[in-house]
Symmetry: C2
Subunit: 409 residues, 2 copies
């Protein structure tokens, strides 16, 4: 026998990576609530609550608004494999890892892929989508990542939603790193299928993928000529489980995760979306001011960037791995490294949900200052903290009201 | 706005349905543990622990032993869609709902399906598998349900494992309702792909599907000519995330669920498999003695039946829905009704993991007695409790040692 496996006690961690984010104690307590059966009338009521709360955060009236029993990537796969039949033409915007993942899934389920690319760190230009829609024949779907977690780029969507309506195709959007942290307007922007994940700006543990479908998308799924390749992610079957009055058994829902999501969404409602978005913007601006003082610069330099995922380029003298190792081992702080071609070249710092606080921004900047000072990369302590403080001060004196920590904290 | 959504407090429930089962307080506490990042060194160590503990309960040395990020049905889909390429001939034993689900998934992923059927409540006869293997040309896979949750039948596997080796095909087995409650011998029986679920005999909340693959199965997956249709469930990609030294990012693991599974598996180890199986057998025998006294009889009358899922036929005068409604509303006890053609005709009573205790057996029988007495279906109170007590007494005096409640309880 190997060594006995003892009780698990994780070391304390400040989670400022690309997810999971910090989880509120109320949500952790919800996770520990005794279970109900997945067909218990009280549990079915809880599913209704989750649907209502998800509609509010997605800003949609879509009847079909559920939580898929898997992580964010399961939501991506569910959205695509249900809408695509073999041979269907699909445009995918690829400007980062998660756009590339969408493209891979389109190919695996037999879609005819049309890539619209942009360099990592840039948005997909609406004009390039238009060009493909105009020149490559009718398309069934345009799929885009709203919040590209690999680059920190925030993709504008409103104009593309209009293009999709004009060209009679469906718009599928990945909001894994935006939902609950910056505006997502499913109905307002004309999104037909939108999915997210629980462990980012919603600050719930990972394990569920919120997903909403417009009536147009649902009709496309209901009228498929071939069955969806996946039984587990078949949204027409899931619709019958999530619909009041039907409740046809499909699979056993991850009950505790739904308890947690309900509580996390209640916290979002208590804070209010506008205040929550302002908090994310403010803390991100302060972090970026501090990082700039340390010589780092946003990868999305000239375009819209995410307040939830701050992707910064390292100057040549700043080493990636040793600094992240020090942050984790000495300070208990997790930040993310670069993915793919950006490995070693950028950091991805998440300020999502409960992780987006002034205290966390200052703690991280102070820790980075110590490491940078010790390595001789900066000459004096305090420069990053000063820059962040000035930003906070300017915002509280300016036209913006200061966004405090979440009111429920 | 609709009514405000208030704090959720579930009513007390004794879970004696087909899953989820009761969850130990240590596992609930594990669910509420603060999160680590999914690439944190401490979390990767926890993944190693889970793998080791799962190998012990699966009784396998398989290197590839993981928890799939979905419920049991995701484990079923993962096992099948990774092993099957379009056109591959696959034998599926269908004698209940979950065999039928396997067959549906085989068809959705393009396999050529050969059904070997038996009536619901009967086992799949090894001779019928042999006949198909001998007469219908070479097969790639034989897929069977070890513990048919819709009927309570326990499928013998050892002989079929030998048949599969002799005929050069892989054996895929569903142990959703057996793993941790009755013997499952992955290596001993020659099983190549075996999956389960957390919320049954392992007594963990639902949300993960333990899965193990033999080297033979892994080689088949590594040598596929076409990519697996699913990206989310692609086991060759998951292998790189779960392998020490590789840890290639695939998707964000459901961290809290893995905390819980680790703790649930520790409880299994503390009790010991032999004691745990004896406990499941004893409590099931006592329950069945009591139910027989009430006029109910096992659906699997003449064959091996599951101690974890007790499926009993109702006499004509016993109404299904009103009794289950009374059990839930008056007594807070959940049991399961029949699925498919058995709806209204059987009950499915789970005694799985933490739910399998003498106290729960007596509580359920006492509650049923009250309902049956009130409706005039029995003449006096105590008959079911007496039968169960006698069974417990006879077992404690006989050659079997009495299996107490779990030692950690």
């Amino acid at each position: 026998m190997a060594n006995p496996i003892l009780e698990f006690t994780p070391p304390p961690r400040l989670l400022l990576g690309p997810g999971p984010s910090m989880v509120h104690s109320r949500v952790l307590r919800a996770m520990a609530t005794p279970l109900l059966g997945h067909l218990d009338p009280t549990f079915l009521q809880l599913m209704d609550d989750v649907q209502q709360l998800l509609r509010n955060v997605f800003r949609t009236a879509n009847r079909f608004t559920i939580a898929v029993s898997g992580t964010g990537s399961a939501g991506m796969e569910a959205a695509l494999v249900n809408l695509i039949e073999p041979g269907d033409p699909v445009v995918v915007g690829v400007n980062g890892l998660f756009g590339a993942r969408m493209a891979a899934i389109v190919e695996r389920c037999g879609g005819k892929l049309f890539r619209v690319e942009a360099p990592w760190g840039k948005i997909i230009e609406p004009d390039n989508i238009l060009k493909t829609l105009s020149q490559s024949g009718p398309m069934k779907i345009v799929a885009l990542v709203h919040a590209e977690t690999s680059t920190g780029v925030s993709q504008p969507l409103e104009e593309i939603g209009t293009l999709c309506r004009d060209h009679g195709c469906l718009l599928v959007v990945d909001t894994v790193t935006s939902l609950g942290g910056l505006p997502v307007e499913v109905d307002g922007w004309g999104i037909d299928a939108c999915y997210s994940a629980t462990q980012k700006c919603l600050s719930c543990p990972p394990g569920l993928a919120p997903l909403t479908l417009s009536e147009r998308a649902l009709t496309v799924i209901r009228n498929r000529k071939t069955p969806c390749q996946s039984w587990y992610l078949d949204l027409s079957l899931l619709a019958d489980y999530w619909t009041e009055g039907k409740r046809a058994y499909h699979h056993t829902a991850p009950i505790s995760m739904l308890y947690a999501l309900r509580e996390a969404l209640r916290l979002v409602e208590e804070e209010g979306l506008a205040a929550r978005f302002a908090r994310h913007r403010l803390n991100s601006a302060a972090l970026m001011a501090g990082l700039t003082a340390l010589g780092l610069s946003p990868l999305a330099r000239n375009g819209p960037r995410l307040p939830s995922l701050n992707c910064v380029t390292l100057p040549a003298h700043v080493q990636d791995a040793p600094v992240r190792a020090s942050l984790l081992q000495e300070f208990g702080i997790e930040i993310g490294g670069g993915l793919g071609a950006l490995q070693g070249k950028v950091w991805r710092i998440g300020l999502m949900g409960e992780s987006s606080t002034r205290s966390n921004v200052l703690t991280l900047l102070s820790s980075l200052e110590k490491i940078f000072l010790r390595r001789g990369w900066i000459a004096r302590a305090g420069i990053a903290l000063e820059a962040a403080s000035q930003l906070y001060l300017s915002q509280s004196q300016g036209t913006h009201t200061e966004a405090p920590a979440p009111t429920h904290a």
